[in-house]
């Protein structure tokens, strides 16, 4: 896994439940909305993560150095778990290569949030990671 993301995920695994909640809230507070320069409303449906309860949209842009950068929008103002995960991904995937993204493991959702989330919530969060992988795959294919 990507070094930075790996560190964050391992850090979460070492926490007790209350610490985990505090850090997740901290990450959710740092959630950054997609800037107007990347996307404008109404956002296209194909950018929306299927099956995510919080209505998450994902955009992938390839930087000049070939690394991908991800942007997010979350429809549900109460989608705190989604905000936290998007923020973790934004920070943890900085500098990651295309191959790193294609090899991302969706298990990180369980490693970060634990196994106490409902099935629906887990599937939605996993869907965000799957969307990232799918978009990178698509961009990679398009470049050939």
């Amino acid at each position: 896994m990507i070094g930075k993301l790996d560190k964050i995920v391992s850090f979460f695994e070492s926490m007790d439940n209350q610490e985990k909640i505090n850090y997740l809230i901290d990450y959710s507070d740092r959630f950054k909305e997609v800037p107007d320069s990347i996307a404008s409303k109404p956002y296209p449906k194909e950018k929306k993560v299927e099956y995510c309860e919080s209505g998450v949209y994902v955009w992938t842009v390839i930087n000049p150095d070939g690394t991908p950068k991800f942007y997010f929008h979350i429809e549900n103002p109460h989608g705190v778990s989604a905000m936290a995960l998007c923020s973790i991904l934004d920070e943890g995937l900085e500098g990651a290569t295309i191959d790193d993204i294609l090899n991302l493991d969706t298990e990180i959702v369980y490693r970060i949030f634990g196994h106490n989330l409902s099935m629906g919530k887990n599937l939605g969060l996993i869907g965000i990671i799957q969307m990232i992988i799918r978009q990178v795959k698509q961009l990679t294919l398009d470049s050939y």
Binding site: Y51, C52, E53, P77, H78, S118, L123
Partner: protein, 287 residues
Amino acid sequence: MKKIKERGYFNPDVLVTTDWVDENLDNKEIRIVESNEDPLLYSKGHIPGAVQIDWTNDLNHQVVRDYIGRDEFEKLMIKNGITNNTIVIFYGDKSNWWASYAFWVFQLFGHTKAKLMDGGRLKWEKEGRKLTRDIPHYPETQYKAKPRNDADFRAFREDVVAHIKHGLPLIDVRSPEEFSGQRLHMPDYPNEGALRGGHIPGAINIPWAKAINPEDGTFKDADQLKELYITENNLNENDELVAYCRIGERSSHSWFVLKYLLGFNNIKNYDGSWTEWGNSVGLPIQK
């Protein structure tokens, strides 16, 4: 907006307004309880003095698909500083889905001193009212729960089988797409394990959301609710009625509307809902 008492509800005492809650934050006779779809939301900010009761971790049994037992419920009440006389005020996200669900579970244990905050968390936030991240700590209480009474509130799979055999009315409160079988899950929600799409034979579809005002999540007036359930869908207050959805949360919301706001006196919630019926061997479905 009309006052709750002026909206024509059968039992207006089960609802309080955001104004009322704001004025009663220091009221020692109440305990404000937040129940959400996203368990992190409470920690992001909640009504001052509110405690969190989470449907998965607090109300559901951890190894059986069922609710907690009497002992666990008593412990939950004691931990949250709730006595048998405490008036519990529920609120939450998603127009009070999970707040209604928690309210319903409390009824299994006979805690009738319970109310919903009309409009839930969304309305509180829209009105710019105070939220805090301070977690309150209340002294432990004494609490004696009644033995769990499923019979008056829950319908089980076998009850529903008998119900349809007798041609009794069933309400499916999911979206029209889920009802028709076009989708196995709510739009934008994951498929939580249902193998087949459709509905329980004979059920009528009255989506839960038709009972609320979409702009603030408050309940519609009794006249509008009667028009929806009684006039348009031919239901009667004395009907033996069962409501269901996907896992029992949206149907708790409709159960609350029918039982307390309209006075249906024989309604139960089939909490097994579509995730049980849609997967069960030998059970018929309709598309």
